[in-house]
Amino acid sequence: MNDFFARGPALGLRLVLAVACSIGLMFVDRYTDSATQVRSYLTSAVSPLFYAASLPESLISSASEQLMSQQQLLTENSALRERLLQQDAQLQLLNFLQQENNKLRALLGSAPVVEGQRLIAEVLAVYSHPFAHQVVLNKGSNDGVNVHQPLIDDKGVVGQIVSVGPSSSRALLISDNTHAISLRAERTGIRTIAEGIGQWDQLRVIHLPLSTDIREGDRLLTSGLDGRFPEGYPVAEVTRVFKDDSQPFMNVMARPYAKLDRIRHVLILLPGNQLTVEPPAEEPL
């Protein structure tokens, strides 16, 4: 029994050491800026593990694709063709509108909106941890991904990149506790902020005075004021408005359009080559 303590310091001392180290780590990670860089290194260091972990799933999905019958493939193909045709038709109109918009903006003397490139990334891992809503993507700095770039899927805004390794990156979802996004209501144009509360299907819309005109079903779009997310992407729909006269603000909940719980592919919005307008300074709310 005695030799239990023969090697290294006693158990209690080890615990004190470990706790001290952990608290130091937490402090550095949470309250200093150096942590982003460290996180990026760590992300790239553990990325093989993520590739290994997603291997079974990708094998299964590729196997199921192999086993799909020709009939199924044909049906899927024709459905996709039809969708492509419809979207192409819409796109023609969109191109026209965009040109018109740029002309009008030029007449007004404001800078045209620069469309950046989009990069398709696959989700390697989704964090199940309720206190950290993050995903790991299979694109990294080698593909031009950088910290703070926004992420969207086919329905709406998903999140933003928080750390980048050479071949993988990590993104914070809008539903994470530490995430907040600047929004504008489509119907009324009110500016507001939605913060994540750690649930996949809910965001809390904060700092709305009781007299604000907001209803259930209102669409909330990015306002572009935060300087991270470009303007006009759909984010969430208001699902619940609760007014309590004793509270200074309304209690408003919204449901994100993006299916955060089952994302497989996302688009990373890379900044455009041209110089973009400097986003206006953050206004106090």
Binding site: L11, S22, M26, L42, V46, A53, H129, A132
Partner: protein, 160 residues
């Protein structure tokens, strides 16, 4: 003291546990995923307290932080504390029946969840939901099987 043997296999099992922590599962199951890494660390602390204790727990906890995306150090601290409790009482816990062990493991898992929640609450302001405690229940149910499996693993490979 016997010379260490098969330490590599211990680390291999810990690596496998970390893989299980991040392996993609259907969305409906994510809340029910047991804390594999902590369970395996607990087993090794129980079986070979001289080889695996707070140091290993700290490192595995830190890796969990990196993999899971919590604030660095949160899981490291919680792993260390749980490993400490097991390391101090390993002789008693070994004598328990498997069912009693499972109950105790449940308590320790609850302690772990509580620590992680408290720290996350201070650091990032998360809110508590009872659903966060599912891993405790699942971990308790998993423990007897994991214990049996890892004991076979340890004896087959003569890890000591």
């Amino acid at each position: 003291m016997r010379p260490a043997q098969g330490l590599g296999f211990i680390y291999l099992s810990l690596l496998a546990a970390l893989l299980l922590t991040v392996i993609p599962v259907p969305y409906q199951l994510t809340l029910f995923r047991p804390d594999w890494a902590l369970l395996v660390v607990m087993y090794w602390t129980l079986a070979l307290p001289r080889r695996v204790n707070i140091g290993t727990a700290f490192v595995v906890g830190f890796l969990t932080d990196v993999l899971v995306g919590t604030v660095l150090g949160v899981n490291a601290l919680a792993f260390s504390v749980v490993s400490f409790v097991v390391g101090v009482n390993y002789l008693k816990i070994r004598n328990f029946a498997v069912i009693q062990q499972a109950l105790l493991v449940g308590l320790l898992l609850a302690l772990y969840q509580l620590l992680v929640f408290w720290l996350s609450h201070f650091l990032t302001g998360v809110n508590f939901r009872p659903a966060y405690l599912w891993p405790v229940v699942i971990g308790m149910l998993v423990w007897p099987w994991l214990f049996w499996l890892l004991r076979r693993y340890r004896r087959q490979l003569k890890i000591q």
